[in-house]
């Protein structure tokens, strides 16, 4: 059983359609912790000790957020700056996170076709997430490809239901150790990992 920590960052959840549904539909699993950063730290005064303790208690870290300017909302940057301390997360003595897994769960307004070499964003989401990937590697963690929900601008309510249900299934599979991390690391997205599991069944 994988213990999963979801670090959720959305500055206006009340206006979000997709994230609100994802959050509502989160599975209730032992060892799954949901940390709503904007709700807990409205002034960005992150409690470093508390956040480090949470990281220590979990195996897989999910950064759940909308894709703002090819990156995370400001809170998650603040979180990285403050929580991933030298001597704890990295550096000669910083080994607290070694061996843990991390991936981004993110939503984009635009469609997948925009995130290609020939698309107007010119890079794939995975490429754009390189700063996080490198941060994670420096901390000795394994970086997994992002789980991406593309095209939120175009989604109808039933569409949102569908993606929320898929994500829920993914978390359940992750929790039950049904994801092969070695294989998944090579994929472009983690969504594909879920499809592989289903295909192999």
């Amino acid at each position: 059983m994988a213990r999963i920590l979801i670090l959720f960052a959305h500055p206006a959840l009340e206006k979000s359609r997709v994230h609100r549904r994802l959050v509502e539909r989160l599975p209730e699993l032992p060892g799954l912790t949901f940390q709503d950063l904007y709700e807990v730290y409205p002034h960005f005064d992150i409690d470093v000790h508390r956040e480090q303790a949470l990281l220590e208690e979990h195996d897989v870290v999910v950064l759940q957020h909308p894709f703002f300017w090819y990156s995370t909302p400001a809170m998650l940057k603040q979180w990285q700056d403050l929580v991933l301390e030298h001597g704890w997360a990295y550096g000669r003595k910083g080994t607290a996170l070694v061996g843990k897994k991390l991936f981004n769960l993110l939503t984009t307004g635009g469609l997948e076709t925009g995130y290609r070499r020939e698309g107007h964003n010119r890079y794939t989401v995975r490429e754009l997430l390189v700063p996080i990937e490198q941060t994670v590697r420096l901390c000795g963690m394994q970086y997994l490809p992002p789980y991406i929900i593309f095209g939120s601008h175009w989604m109808s309510e039933p569409d949102i239901d569908t993606v929320a249900e898929r994500y829920r299934e993914f978390l359940v599979a992750l929790h039950a150790d049904r994801i092969d991390f070695q294989r998944a690391a090579a994929l472009e997205t983690l969504n594909a990992a879920l499809e592989e599991i289903e295909a192999s069944r």
């Binding site: 002034h43 000790h49 700056d81 403050l82 301390e85 550096g91 000669r92």
Partner: protein, 631 residues
């Protein structure tokens, strides 16, 4: 009546009520039945503590009904009344007409002359506003659909009494010209006037009541409130009700209807809750007195003389009315359980019947032989109502399977109360209210400064005048259904008193209290308030932050430091309160220790960057590691 005599009577009435009402409540029978039993117990056929003055007492106590309708009106905004127009005219109208026809038909079949039969029919179509509203309110069924329908019918009857009184003289078969000066409200100085003048007088009186309530009363109440003498306000409230009753009596309208109108007009005003809670005890006592009087006037001699006749009359009346009501409930598509509640609530004959019978006697509509048994039957049917409702609640409803959820939802729709109450709307409370309002959250505000209330209402806020530490006023403002109570009163004593009241009567409310100083904050925490806000903390911290800025500190640093200070302060409040309870001496040392703690922590934040704060922004260890001097 001598003073001694009056005291004796008051003693008897009060003692009877104090003994029987709690007993009746204990057996789940409701207060109305308790009062009726008290009346029977002390009446001429019980302990004979009272003579035959029951009838007089009843006339006096009828004023309780007038007050009740005033209070009912206060709770009924014009918009709600307008929404009820269909049930009032439809249900109420059909009920009166159908019941009258059925009863008159039976009476004609019993070979009574048609005029007398019609008069009996009209009289028996009345229901008891006093008993039904009191009982339903006690059971909290007044806001259910069935309760609302019952209320609509009762309202229609209160209005219908006026034309009925007007046509009674036309139904006189035993011709007797009444020079009846000593009667009740129906005999007026308008009697001799032409019809158009009477109509005009009635219209003028209604206009006076509505217009006066709308435009005159608010400044008057405001001036009175400014005296800050509660009893004067109470006196003014009573004066208003009595004044309207007198005016209505003068032009031959029902006083209950007049005060009801005034109540509706005042339902929008800031004095609504205060008026309600001022009139309420009088209303309650007078209604109790009225019910006792009804109990005392039940003529057991007559009942014992003709038990069968009276029993048949009571059963006939109740069954006929029940049938009409139940059928109407179906036609007006009430749900099954609500239809039953409606039908079980109204099958009695009301107090107006006594008025109509005596008026009819006087006008020569009835003969004494006819009214005697009927009056007894009416009183018995009233006594039966609370029992019928208990029967409905315990035996019938469990079988029907009440659609409880649906009922709840409908009750919500009528609900005018808000989730947040704010007590005290000075600069502190008003800021809270404004922020909530800016986010679309409606609040109910209670404040004791009439000028401020007036001003805020003009700005369109829902503000009421009144002392929020009074339990009755809190109830009137909807504390039973609210979620949050913001305490922003201007004195620690009042705040604490209110906290105790709320903890006792409304434990579900989350209290958010403004504290004046540390001492006061401790008291609040000790009283069980979890959300305590020292009033000057945020402001003084802001001054501190700005002062740091003036001295050249970076703004982000001083802001974070202030928030840390605040968190630490809140933590200390709780710890120190716990320690204070143990011993006063220890509190002093503990307080000193906390202050030292705080100093140390803040010092660390500023100087000792290596400790544990915000390392990520400036890690000396990283610098050391890179330079190879590593720790």
């Amino acid at each position: 009546m001598s003073g001694q005599d009056f005291l004796y009577q008051a003693f008897v009435y009060l003692a009877a009520a104090v003994i029987t009402v709690p007993l009746a409540k204990r057996f789940g029978l409701g207060s109305v039945l308790g009062y009726l039993l008290a009346g029977i117990a002390i009446g001429p056929y019980g302990l004979r503590l009272l003579g035959s003055e029951g009838q007089d007492v009843m006339h006096f106590a009828e004023f309780g009904v007038v007050m009740m309708l005033f209070v009912v009106g206060l709770e009924l905004q014009p918009a709600l009344l307008w929404r009820l127009r269909a049930p009032i005219l439809g249900l109420g109208g059909f009920q009166v007409v159908l019941t009258t026809l059925v009863v008159a038909g039976v009476a004609i079949a019993l070979t009574l002359p048609w005029k007398t039969a019609l008069a009996i029919g009209l009289t028996l179509s009345m229901s008891s506003t006093a008993i039904v509203l009191q009982t339903l309110a006690e059971k909290q069924q007044l806001k259910s659909e069935g309760g609302q329908s019952a209320f609509a019918v009762l309202l229609f009857k209160d209005i219908a009494v006026i034309p009925i009184l007007a046509i009674f003289p036309l139904l006189a078969s035993v011709h007797r010209t009444g020079d009846s000066a000593g009667g009740h409200e129906s005999t007026t100085w308008l009697h001799g006037m032409p019809a158009w003048a009477q109509t005009l007088a009635v219209l003028v009186a209604v206009a006076v009541v509505v217009g006066g309530s709308r435009f005159l009363l608010r400044p008057v109440f405001r001036a009175i409130a400014q005296t800050r003498l509660r009893e004067v306000f109470t006196a003014a409230a009573l004066l208003l009700v009595i004044g309207i009753a007198l005016l209505m009596g003068l032009v031959g309208l029902s006083p209950a209807l007049g005060t009801f109108l005034a109540g509706v007009v005042l339902a929008d005003s800031e004095y609504r809750h205060e008026l309600e809670s001022d009139i309420d005890p009088f209303k309650g006592l007078l209604l109790g007195l009225f019910f006792i009087a009804v109990g005392a006037t039940i003529d057991f001699n007559l009942i014992l003389a003709k038990p069968l006749l009276v029993a048949i009359l009571v059963a006939g009346i109740v069954i006929a009315k029940f049938a009409v009501l139940f059928a109407l409930g179906r036609v007006f598509s009430l749900s099954r359980d609500q239809g039953l509640l409606f039908a079980f609530a109204l099958p009695q004959v009301g107090e107006f019947a006594f008025v109509l019978f005596s008026y009819g006697l006087q006008e020569g509509v009835f003969e004494a032989g006819v009214t005697g048994p009927l009056v007894a039957a009416v009183a018995l049917s009233m006594a039966l109502t609370p029992l019928l409702l208990v029967f409905n609640e315990r035996v019938v409803q469990p079988r029907v399977g009440p659609s409880a959820a649906g009922e709840e939802r409908k009750a919500d729709a009528i609900e005018e109360e808000t989730a947040v109450l704010i007590a005290g709307f000075g600069s502190f409370g008003s800021t809270v209210g404004r922020l909530l309002r800016a986010n679309g959250v409606a609040t109910t505000v209670l404040d004791l400064d009439p000028d401020r209330v007036e001003l805020l209402r003009r700005l369109g806020l829902k503000v009421y005048y009144g002392d929020a530490s009074r339990h009755d006023l809190l109830v009137a403002a909807g504390a039973e259904r609210a979620r949050l109570l913001v305490l922003a009163l201007d004195s620690p004593e009042k705040t604490l008193a209110l906290v105790h009241t709320v903890k006792k009567h409304f434990p579900h409310l989350t209290i958010m209290a403004r504290a004046f100083d540390w001492e006061d904050a401790h008291d609040l925490v000790e009283a069980g308030v979890t959300r305590v806000y020292p009033q000057s903390l945020d402001t003084s911290l802001r001054v501190g932050v700005d002062a740091l800025g003036e001295l050249g500190f970076r703004a982000y640093h001083s802001h974070r430091s202030a928030r840390q200070f605040q968190r630490h302060d809140e933590e200390s409040l709780r710890q120190l309160t716990a320690e204070r309870r143990v011993s006063r001496a220890r509190y002093l040392t503990a307080a000193r220790k906390r202050i030292e703690d705080l100093e140390r922590l803040l010092e660390a934040d500023r100087v000792d960057r290596g400790s544990d704060r915000d390392l990520g922004w400036d890690a000396e260890t990283l610098r050391d590691e890179v330079r190879g001097t590593g720790a």
